[in-house]
Every structure is written in C-alpha cells, then in structure tokens.
C-alpha cells in the first residue's frame, strides 16, 4: 500500500516538474540566459557577457559553467576569453567590439560530446552621435506671406545606429514644437517663422548610445531672408535716346523689410552684363531710369533685391525684359577710303570711293542715305559734285587731280559729322617705314614706324592673296597717333595676306608700304614636283615650279632635295627658296636615282612626289671620241682594201669575175657583112637611138620565105635540132617564145654544132630583126639571144610571180591552153596571141608578134619568153603541127638538164651591135 502511494508521489513529482518547465519557459524551457540581453555597444569598446545557467538544469542534466562554450556566428570564442565566475555563471570578454559578430551564443557540451545551445543574443555595435556642427539657417520667401526657414547642419560621422535629429527652436518666453527632418539627417524646414524676435535654434542628435546638441544659434529670422525677386518688370523708353525706365513690383512688404536693388543690363546679343551702380539703387523703390545707354539699341534688363541693410541674402535675378532706346543722329561720319584705277585715257582716273557702314552704336538709328561730295582742289576749278547714294561705294571717272571727298550719313533724326578724304594727285608724302606684322591672341597685329611728319590718320589695306580668287581689298582707319593695330576682319590662318599701310596727311598722302603676313603658318599642303631638265653622266639638272600661294601655307624658307640610289643612303641638299633649278653633281654614271623635294615653312616641310632618273653611261663627247676613230679606222681599212683590190684586180677578176665572151665579138660578127643589102640600118638607128644595139649585126630573114635560107644558115638549126631533139626530128629549129614568136620569124643564132656542144662556157645568142611583112617597114626589132644570162633574174622573178610553181607545169599549162581554146588562163594575153598565131596566116603573125614584143613589159610575155628561150629551136614544131603541144611538152620533160645547166653556162653580157661574136 505504501509503495503504491510512493509511486503515485513520484508520478506527481514528475508531472510537477514538467508543469514547472512549461510555466517557467513556455513551451521550451531554457537552461540559462545571457546578460546583457541584446546590448548596444560602442564600436571599439570592450564587452563582457555572462551566461547564467539555471539551477534546475544543473540538477537535471549535470550541467556546469565550466562546460560552457561561447560562439560568435558559429565560431568558437577562444577559451582565453572565458572566465568561470561560479559553477553556474561563465563570462566572455571581447576587448574590441568591432570584431564581434552576431549572434553571440552560449553553448554547452552535454555529456562531454553533444553541444547544445543554451542562449544567444544579438549585439548591436555603433557610435554615439557627434555634436552637430555648422548649423545655419535661411528664410526663403515663397510667397508674399510665407517665410519658411530651412536650417542645415553637419550631422557628423556615421553612427551605424538609428540616430534621430531634431531641430529645436524657441523664443525666450515661448517654446515651439521641434522640427523633425524627413528622410534626411542634416536639414529641416520650419514652415513659419516670425520676424523681429530673436529665435534660438539648435540641433539635437540622439541614438541608443547617447545624445548630442549643437551650439545654439540665436538669430532674428528677418536677418536671414532671401526674398523673392521683384516681378512684373517692364522697360519703357524715355524721350532721351540714352534713357530707359524700368518698373517692377516687390513681393515683400515694406513692413517686413526695406529693400535695395541691383539692376543689370546688356545689349542684346552681347553676353556681358553691365550694372547700374549699386549706390544708385540702394533704397526701396519700384522704378528706376537707367541712363547712359546707346541710342537705338535694344537692351536686356534684370533686377534683384535684398534687405536694405545688406543683412541676409540677395534674391534670384528677375526674369529678363528688353527695351529699345530711341534714335539719335549718327555720332560720327563713316570711315572712307578709295581705290584708283587709271582709265584708258591717261588724263582720267577711275576713283572707286568706299566707306564703311557705321557701327550700330555710331549710326544711332537706321542710315537711309549717304551724301557724297567730291570737290576738286585744282586752282582752276573748285566745283563740288554731290551724290546721294544708298550703298557704301561710289565709282567716279575724274580728271587727274587733287580732290576732297566728303561723306555724311543720314538717319531719321539727323546727319552725321562729315568724313573727309583728301585724294592727292600723287602720293608724294613720306611713307611709313618698317611695316611688320605679328600674330597675337588669334589676331594679326600690324605695326609700322611713323614718318617724321604729323600724320592725320593711317589707312591699313589688306587682302587675301590666293590663286583662286582676286585680291579683294579690305581696309580700316587708324588714328594718326598709333603705330600699330590689329586687323579688324576675318583673318584666316594659313592664308597669305598682303598688308599695305598708307599715312594720310592734312595736305596729302604717303605711298603705301606693303608686307606679306600669315596669321598662322602650317606645313605646305604639298611638296614641289621635281623633274630633270638634263641628265648627264655624273650630274643632273633638276627643275621644279614654285608652290602656289594656296599650297604654301606659310613662307617657304627653304627647299631640300633628297636623292638616293636604289640601295644607297639618301643625300639631302638645301636649296634657296628663290631657285627653281639645281644641278646635282658627283652622281654615279648609269645609275637609277630617286629624287624628291621638300618645301619648308616655319612650321615644317612636306615632300613632293618621287622622281626617278638614270644617269647616262657615257659622258658628253665620249661616244664621239669612240665612234669617230672607229669610223676613220673602218674607212681606212676600206680604202686599203680598195687599193689592194685595185692592185690585184687582175687576179681577182680571174677568180671572181671571169671574162665573159662578148657576143659582139663573136664569129657571127664575121658574117655580118654577108647580111643582105636589104638590111635596114636606118630604121634600127631610130629604134635604138642610144646605140645600145648599134654594134649588133642583124641577120634579116624573110619571114615568108623559108627557102631563102642558105644551107649554111640553116645548119645551126639542124645542129640544134640534133642536139635538143632526141626523138622527134621535126621539132628542131630555133627556140623562141612559143607564145609570140613563130619559128619562121625567129632565127636561132646559136653557134655551130661544136660551139653548142662545147662546155658550159658556150653561149647561144640570137639576134632577130624582124622585117616588115611584104614591104612593110618593121616597127620593132627584136634582138634575141639564146643566152640565159641576162634573163636569169627575170626567170627567177617570173617563177616567184608564178607562185613558185614548176616551170614545166607552167609550160604544160601554157600549151594546154594553147591547144584547148575554150579554157581560160590567167595569161590571157598570151593565150589570145597564141590563138592568133594558130588561126592567122603566118605573115600576119609575124607582124603581130613584133608588136607584142616591142610593147612588152608584161610579165606573162616575159615569162613566155624566158621559159622558152632555151627551147627556141622547138618553136618550129609549134607552128608546124597542132600536135606540137604534146611534142613540146615531151621535149621539155625530156630536157630538164638543159634548163638547169644553161644559166651556169652563161655570163651576163651586153648584146652589142654587130651580132654574134663567139669567143
């Protein structure tokens, strides 16, 4: 029974334990805790935390403080930083909180192995707020009655903590609610402040580590007002042309503050502001008249204000308003100058007057007319001519002389003072000296030395020198007391300007002194193009053209010529810029040189294109020195050779030029006297007036009387027939042109049988003199020779003309046409003649043949003659039988050797009168 109660008590004890755990720690009871709980620590300070174990856990789990392990973000804190206070408390100390990571946990090793977390805290590290510094306030007026005050301060270093700033302010007797910044920590705006009472303002900064206050600022807000700028500004012109009246409205009550003003203004288009003297606008006002303005000029105005005593801030500048002053008469006459051109008539000038339009500040209005007066200063006439023009120039044709020109500008208000220019007959006065230029500040300054005489003023004339445009003159006036000025115009860099300075005197004018100048120089835009003028063996003359002024970009100070061989070093030669030619010397002969040229200005040089040339192999006269001796030597040798040949001519003749038998001295000459008396020499003389045939012995044969030949005469024919005809005896006879000569007409004068049968030296000649037919006077004498020597050349030519065809073939062809009359032949004349021969009677044929031969020069005829020369003996056959063609063909075929051998047997020889002279 007792034990049963004991068990019940034990169960109740456990239940109480469980309940007590649940009550004390909620759902999970912690076995300890850390103090301090979630501390906020100063960065860099030391920190000690204690982990305190619950007694209940000691009893329940045998847990003690010496088992505690400290961790920062799961990293075990070294044991050296632990300290066991007692058996339930362990502390950990960090000397520098900057290294402390969250969370800081207290853990324990249960049963020596299992690590259990007991408790953890989050440590916040930061800095206390610094004292806010540089507190300042400004009251910006936003409307007529609203004056919010904005104060700014320097909040100091970051605190890494949630730090609250408050702007506090108060009157001595009254506190106001704090101004709390929104989204920022360095400024705050108090919406409404009251003036004329001192306000104490300060800033309070507070976070978990502390609180700091700035130094108080005691001020009357009226002293820190930035008022709104005046508005509704208007500008009105006054009667005076130099005054404009400004009016405006102030947006701050005079009861609040009195204002002073700043008024600024500028000419429209000009960026520079001018300001009305502040002392003129140092009192409250709503209008002001600005004086000292230019007439007929548009001005821009703006205004601002601040507290009259200068305490506070200036307002912003008001909106800009413009106003135009009224017109006034021109303040000065237009500057005037002239250019003079000589007319065709030397007694007249063309004077081009030009004047400058007045600057707006001089014109003081719209210039609508210029009045030009030209007055001659000649003692003979002092007439004044007046011209009213709208332009700024006037061209007049005037007689040479001295003139005074006056120009007056008119606007709506009045006329300008006159501008006077004296145009003397000649510029005889002293000129200026030492005209010089100097680029300065992007402008071109011109200076000169004044002449000794008093100069009224100077005129500086200039123009841009260019190849592409004319020199358009610009000019400007300068007072007589200066000796230098800047050119007032659009002076471009890299352009050449011709500047001329004229001194004007009260009674005349000095001649102009000129100088060329550049505002800025550059390298030339291109280099000179060099080429050779003459190339020798060791020298070359180079030429080039000067660069145009547009290409120069500056003053050409020098040229440099660079030349080199293909593999050699470049050599440079500096040349004076005035030259356009230079001779390179000491060059290597027969060598390719590359040459280029650079032109230099003060800013550098630029090279022209490369040019190559080759020096000559021989110098001047060298070739002549070689050729002339060679020629002389050659001539000498030739002369010696000729002399030698002359001396040895017999020997040479014997070997090279054997004596050709002269037919005129042949044996036939011996029978020349036996020629019948009918031989008509007179007609022969007429036919051969030069006597080339004067020595020819003529054998006259009656064409129609074959029987009149003596046996002796006919003997050679027979011999020839025997020799040349092998198979057909009836084909013998003197050969001739089968085309034009009939066997009866041509008489072979070939030598007797032994002569013919002689060796190659044997020459056959025939001289045929045709007799007239039946008492008709023969019109032509045909002298024929059996020698082929003089005709070899013709034969060869005929062969060439026949297309190189075989002579035999030609002959066959010829005879074929002769037989076949229907066929055509290119040798048409010959063919026709053949037909006549065949069909006409023999007597007719003879005369006709003579005519044909006498007029012959045609190749077909010659061909026929030549081809049949050696076959003259066969011609009889042709006139005897229609079968002749076959016979002749056979003869030719059967006698090839004769054709080949005959030319070798004969030497050319003039047929002389007297006929056959066998040797």
């Amino acid at each position: 029974m007792f034990s049963g109660w004991n068990w019940v008590a034990h169960g109740l004890y456990l239940l109480w334990n469980i309940c007590s755990l649940g009550v004390s720690g909620g759902l999970v009871q912690s076995c300890g805790h850390i103090i301090p709980e979630s501390p906020v620590l100063t960065l860099g300070s030391s920190f000690t935390a204690l982990c305190i174990l619950n007694e209940s856990c000691l009893d329940f789990g045998n847990i003690y403080a010496n088992q505690i392990i400290w961790k920062t973000k799961n990293r075990v804190v070294p044991k050296e930083q632990y300290r066991e206070i007692n058996r339930t408390v362990s502390s950990v100390t960090f000397n520098d909180t900057s290294s402390l990571a969250n969370p800081l946990t207290c853990n324990i090793l249960a049963d020596g192995q299992i690590e259990q977390n007991i408790y953890g805290i989050t440590v916040t590290v930061g800095l206390p707020p610094e004292k806010p510094k540089n507190l300042s306030c400004i009251v910006r007026q936003v409307s007529k009655l609203a004056y919010p005050m904005t104060c700014t301060w320097n909040p100091g270093r970051p605190t890494f903590l949630d730090t609250h700033f408050r702007l506090k302010y108060r009157w001595p007797q009254e506190n106001f609610p704090d101004c709390i910044p929104k989204d920022v920590n360095n400024s705050c705006m108090i919406t409404d402040v009251q003036f004329f009472v001192n306000l104490e303002v300060w800033v309070e900064a507070e976070n978990a580590l502390g609180k700091a206050e700035s130094d108080p600022l005691v001020l009357d807000p009226i002293e820190i007002v930035k008022p709104l700028s005046p508005h509704n500004l208007s500008v009105n012109s006054e009667i005076l042309p130099t005054v404009l009246k400004l009016s405006w409205e102030n947006r701050i009550s005079v009861a609040v503050m009195k204002l002073k003003f700043n008024i600024r203004y500028r000419i429209i288009g000009d960026a520079n502001w001018m300001q009305v003297p502040p002392e003129d606008t140092a009192s409250p006002r709503t209008s002001f008249s600005v004086q000292g303005l230019r007439p007929y000029t548009e001005y821009v105005f703006s205004i601002r204000c601040m507290k009259e005593d200068g305490v506070g801030y200036w307002s912003d500048w008001s909106e800009e308003k413009t106003g135009v002053t009224t017109e006034d008469k021109p303040s000065k006459g237009p500057p005037i100058w002239r250019s003079i051109a000589v007319c065709h008539s030397p007694a007249f000038w063309t004077v081009h007057l030009m004047w400058k339009a007045l600057e707006p500040f001089e014109a003081n209005g719209v210039i609508f007319q210029y009045e030009v007066t030209v007055r001659s200063k000649s003692p003979l006439s002092s007439l004044a001519e007046k011209y009213n023009v709208n332009t700024t120039n006037l061209t007049l044709k005037l007689p040479n002389g001295t003139y005074e020109v006056t120009v007056i500008a008119h606007n709506r208000v009045g006329a300008s003072p006159p501008s006077v220019l004296l145009i003397p007959a000649s510029n005889s006065k002293a000129p200026v000296k030492s005209v010089r230029t100097l680029p300065k500040d992007g402008k071109l300054w011109v200076g000169w030395t004044a002449p000794n005489s008093y100069v009224l003023k100077y005129v500086i004339e200039w123009c841009l020198v260019s190849n592409s445009s004319d020199c358009i003159i610009e000019w400007q006036n300068e007072p007589g007391n200066v000796q230098g000025t800047y050119l007032k115009g659009d002076i471009k860099p890299f352009k050449c300007y011709l500047i001329t300075v004229y001194p004007l005197y009260a009674d005349g004018q000095g001649s102009g002194q000129s100088v060329k100048a550049y505002l800025q120089q550059d390298r030339p835009s291109k280099g000179p193009t060099v080429q050779t003028k003459k190339v020798g063996k060791a020298e070359a003359v180079l030429t080039w053209n000067h660069l145009t002024v547009d290409e120069q970009n500056g003053f050409i100070r020098s040229y440099t010529i660079f030349y080199k061989t293909v593999d050699g070093n470049e050599t440079a030669v500096t040349v004076d810029p005035s030259k356009t030619e230079y001779t390179l010397s000491s060059l290597t002969s027969d060598t390719l040189y590359t040459v280029r040229m650079m032109a230099y200005t003060d800013e550098g040089g630029r090279s022209g294109p490369d040019f190559t040339f080759t020096t000559q192999k021989f110098g001047k006269g060298e070739i002549e020195a070689i050729v002339v001796p060679v020629c002389l030597a050659f001539l000498l040798i030739v002369l010696l050779g000729v002399l030698f040949c002359f001396n040895k001519r017999d020997l040479i003749k014997k070997h090279i030029w054997p004596i050709v038998p002269d037919p005129s001295k042949s044996n036939i000459a011996q029978w020349s006297p036996q020629v019948p008396a009918k031989h008509n020499f007179s007609s022969k003389d007429q036919m051969y007036p030069e006597g080339s045939f004067t020595d020819v012995s003529v054998v006259e044969i009656e064409a129609d009387d074959k029987k009149s030949f003596s046996e002796q005469d006919l003997k050679p024919f027979d011999l020839l027939k025997k020799e040349k005809s092998t198979s057909e005896g009836h084909s013998s006879g003197i050969g001739g042109s089968s085309c034009m000569s009939s066997p009866r007409q041509s008489v072979s004068d070939s030598d007797e049988g032994e002569t013919t049968q002689n060796t190659s030296s044997t020459v056959q000649y025939s001289t045929v003199v045709l007799n007239g037919y039946r008492d008709q006077t023969p019109v032509q004498v045909f002298s024929r020779s059996e020698s082929t020597q003089p005709l070899l050349d013709s034969e060869e030519r005929s062969e060439d003309q026949a297309g190189g065809g075989d002579s035999t073939t030609q002959r066959q062809h010829y005879f074929k046409q002769n037989g076949g009359q229907d066929e055509t032949n290119t040798d048409r004349p010959c063919f026709e003649r053949t037909k006549q021969i065949i069909h006409a009677n023999e007597g007719d044929l003879v005369g006709f043949a003579q005519l044909q031969i006498s007029g012959q020069s045609s190749q077909p005829l010659g061909l026929g003659l030549e081809k049949n020369t050696q076959e003259a003996a066969l011609s009889d056959v042709l006139q005897e039988s229609t079968e002749g063609q076959t016979v002749i063909s056979q003869t030719v075929e059967g006698n090839p050797m004769l054709v080949d051998e005959m030319p070798k047997s004969y030497l050319p020889q003039t047929v002389r009168q007297g006929g056959y002279m066998p040797q």
Binding site: Q173, E174, D192, Q194, F195, F196, I222, V254, A255
Partner: protein, 195 residues
C-alpha cells in the same frame, strides 16, 4: 563697470525698441491683410461699425504725449496681453467653426497671434530694462468670454482685429518715443526706422 552696463542696457533697449517698431509695423500690415480676409471669410461687411468690444483696451488715449515711458510700456503690455488672449480665443473659435476648411485664415490668425506674443515679449524686456519688471499677468487677464452668438463672435473678432491694428500704430509711436534719446543719455543715434 556700471558705465559698461549702462551702455549695454542702452544698446539692448535700443535694439528692442527698433525691432519692436518693425514688429509693430509688420503686425499692423498683417492685421490689415487679415481684416480683409476675415471680413470676407466671415461674411461680414467691411464697413460695418463695431461697438467697443468688452475687454479690448482702447488705443486712443488722451494726452498721449504726456505719458512716461514706463506708462506707455505698461499700457501696451496690458493691451497686448489682452489681445493675445482674445486672439487665442478667436483662433480656437475659428477652428471650431471652420475646422481645417479655412486653413489660410487660421494660419494668418496664428501668425498674428505669434506676433502679438513676440511684441509682448519685447514690452516685457523693455520693462525689465526700466528696472521695473513686467507686472504679473494674473491681474491682466481678460474677463471670461460671455456667451455670445456666432454672429456676435464674428463681430467681436472684427472689433478685436480693428483695435489691434490701431494698437499697432500706437505702439509704433510709443516705441519711437521711447527710443528717442532721453536728456543726458549718451546714445545719440536716433532710429529712423519707419514701417
């Protein structure tokens, strides 16, 4: 030492007078503007004649130029303390009546109230410089507001503002009078400030 104190006190007095004058000027300007707004918003006739309001000190006074400085300061202080209470009451009534619907009128009333309060401070400081010290406010409290109808309250408000405008003018003159160098005073500079 005593001379330095006197000089400092004189400068302080002068500064207080100067700024008091300007504050009175601005207060008058603002009250005049407020009067227009008030008449318009409360639906009153600007030319309406309002009888003397009970508890509102009258600006007009006989033999003004015979008053001493302290007397002037005391009368001003009494008046402005009364105005301060009246304006606070008007502001409260206006907020009850119009709520936030007419914030501009409320802001203007509050601004004038602040100026009145600031001017009161100026007067108290001047009285301290007179070695007299400001009187206690307990005796100067206005009588409790009688139960008035809405229209009567509006009219009373109009009367308060008009009288305040009058007082602003008078205060300016009073302070100028005070700022004038008293015979034998070393401060020779005069204040030429005029609103």
């Amino acid at each position: 030492m005593a001379a330095a104190d006197n000089t400092s006190a004189a400068l302080r007095r002068r500064d207080l007078c100067s700024r008091g004058i300007r504050l009175a000027g601005k207060m008058r300007s603002d009250v005049v503007d407020l009067l227009d707004t008030y008449v318009e918003r409360q639906g009153l006739d600007a030319s309406a004649s309002v009888a003397a309001v009970e508890g509102v000190p009258a600006a007009a006074v006989e033999r003004w130029d015979e008053q001493t400085g302290t007397q002037r300061l005391l009368e001003n202080l009494a008046a402005y303390r009364a105005f301060r209470a009246l304006l606070a009451q008007m502001l409260e009534e206006q907020q009850e009546q119009l709520g936030e619907a007419d914030a501009a009128l409320g802001r203007a009333l509050a601004a004038v109230l602040l100026q009145v309060s600031a001017f009161t401070y100026h007067l108290e400081e001047l009285l301290r410089l007179e070695s007299r010290g400001p009187p206690s406010e307990e005796g100067a409290e206005p009588p409790p507001a009688p139960h008035l109808s809405l229209f009567e309250r509006k009219l009373r408000g109009l009367g308060v503002l008009r009288e305040l405008a009058q007082w602003a003018v008078r205060s300016t003159r009073d302070l100028r009078q005070l700022a004038k160098p008293s015979p034998g005073s070393s401060s020779a500079a005069s204040l030429a400030e005029s609103p």
